[in-house]
């Protein structure tokens, strides 16, 4: 785990740095969520709408939209695929779950990529991801924080 300016960048994940998204590959599935940078930029979430399970999405289209105060923004998928599961229950129980625990309890959706063998452009792993994220955090001049319990 690397922490840069308060922003956690856990090992073992892939990152779409431009979209502030993390991806954990689990066999032929991909679990996705907001990074620490994303939840910090967003601020306290007030609602989330998931694209339905079973829906096929294209790369660059949203798997969910989130609202904080009067701001609504999409969470974009890095690849084409079918939505297999969404984390409705966790967000129904605690809408701030991504603000508290973005990499574990606050995951958003699980997608089955159409082409699991080919990593999409822009999805980085390990050292490359960490360095790219460090640079992004500096460029955004950002320091991360989490909601306390």
């Amino acid at each position: 785990m690397i922490v840069h300016r308060g922003c956690a960048i856990p090992d073992g994940l892939s990152y779409d740095v431009d979209r502030d998204l993390w991806v954990r590959f689990e066999d032929d599935l991909a679990r996705m969520g907001l990074t620490d940078v994303a939840q910090t930029r967003m601020g306290k979430m007030v609602s989330i709408r998931f694209k339905r399970v079973g829906r096929h999405i294209e790369a660059g289209k949203s798997i969910a939209t989130v609202e904080s105060a009067k701001w609504v923004g999409p969470i974009h998928s890095p690849f084409d695929g079918e939505i297999i599961a969404t984390n409705d229950e966790a967000y129904a129980a605690d809408i701030l779950v991504a603000n508290r625990d973005p990499y574990e309890a606050g995951w958003i959706s699980i997608v089955r990529p159409d082409d699991p063998a080919t990593a999409p452009d822009g999805l980085l792993t390990s050292d490359a991801a960490v360095e790219a994220y460090r640079a992004r955090i500096e460029m955004l001049d950002l320091s991360c924080y989490r909601c306390a319990d």
Partner: protein, 351 residues
């Protein structure tokens, strides 16, 4: 820095939404940062992307001939009409401050400056609400569409409080009455010339966006629309849209008028019933088999109380509630018989 300014003038209710959505997609695909204006020819209701349709009294809207459109940014249900000039600032996400709340603030500051330039003593309060004193004078919403950031708002030169109150879904007459009363108290129109406001906003946004990019103000391409705010001999403002924006406009005309999109997904409504008047100002309501309680709160302090079926001690109870914070109210009303139980249920659900 180039700023495209488009004054669409008076447009249909649907186009007063779809035009700026199309611009957001255009800016996502390389169109320049854009400041746009329009006013709807006919009144309607707009709801935020995540708002449950049940928050709107759809039957009342039908009776009044008010269409309901869902927008792709945040915020609650609002009544819109031709006494309002809509403005939108749209820019690439990469130009906006990283923190969303900061981006909204930075992109609302030029509006406040424009209000001030035309003689209105507006301020941006801590909750990003544009106010004069403690009264809201401008609604706003924001979001990311594609890779563009858009902040929308309105100059309100006349506010129909009755219409604005009537479109909200309320559980009973007491709650409807209090919402209407608090709208009157906390939301107001301003005496302003829309054209003067537009001219001022062009100047303040040009300066603000140049500052965001660390550049000198550059070219402003200004396309005027038709009356009431534009020029009688103005050309077609649609000509200033890119082919991609025109294509998206047609697509959005269909999408935003699609009943399925307007209805949205059903979701559980939270208890108790509540409605926002402006930031920090809410009306809460609760009823059980014996009584109804409606509370108005300003910054978590009870300022208004309506009790129905409270029995003989109504005045005493109201006196104890007004001015109380919620935890104190819960303690103080716990021993107040069946009305106390009703309010206790309400307060418990609120906290």
């Amino acid at each position: 820095m180039e700023l495209r300014v488009i004054d669409f003038g008076r447009v249909s209710a649907l186009r007063s939404q779809t035009l700026w959505h199309a611009i957001a997609y255009g800016v996502s695909e390389g169109a320049p940062p854009t400041l746009s204006f329009m006013t709807p020819a006919t009144p309607y209701v707009s709801i935020g992307l995540h708002v449950n349709i049940d928050a709107v009294d759809v039957n009342a809207c039908k009776r009044a001939g008010l269409p309901v459109f869902r927008r792709m940014v945040g915020g609650g249900p609002v009544y819109l009409d031709d006494d309002q000039l809509f403005f939108q600032i749209t820019l690439p996400d990469s130009m906006a401050p990283a923190m969303r709340s900061r981006a909204v603030r930075v992109l609302l500051n030029p509006v406040v400056a424009a209000f001030q330039q035309i003689g209105i003593d507006a301020e941006l309060d801590d909750a990003n609400e544009i106010v004069v004193g403690d009264r809201k004078i401008c609604g706003h919403a924001a979001g990311q569409i594609g890779s563009a950031v858009v902040v929308v708002g309105n100059l309100i030169t006349g506010f129909n409080h009755d219409a604005a109150a009537s479109i909200a879904s309320t559980p009973n007459r007491a709650a409807a009455g209090m919402f209407r009363q608090m709208l009157e108290r906390y939301v107001t129109a301003v005496d302003a010339d829309p054209r003067a406001f537009m001219e001022a906003a062009v100047a303040t946004y040009t300066e603000a966006l140049s500052s965001l990019q660390g550049e000198q103000a550059g070219d402003v391409s200004y396309v005027r629309g038709r009356p009431p705010f534009g020029e009688p001999d103005a050309g077609d403002p649609l000509a200033s849209l890119t082919p991609y924006e025109l294509e998206k406009l047609e697509e959005l005309d269909r999408k935003l008028a699609d009943p399925t999109f307007i209805r949205g997904e059903s979701r559980r409504t939270r208890a108790p019933w509540r409605i926002k008047v402006k930031s920090g100002v809410w009306v809460y309501g609760h009823a059980n088999e014996s009584a109804t309680a409606v509370l108005g709160l300003v910054d978590d302090v009870i300022t208004e109380v309506t009790l129905v079926g409270a029995g003989r001690d109504t005045e005493k109870l109201i006196g104890e509630l007004v001015g109380s914070g919620l935890p104190h109210a819960a303690d103080r009303i716990a021993r107040e018989g069946h009305m106390g139980a009703t309010i206790a249920q309400l307060v418990e659900a609120m906290t």
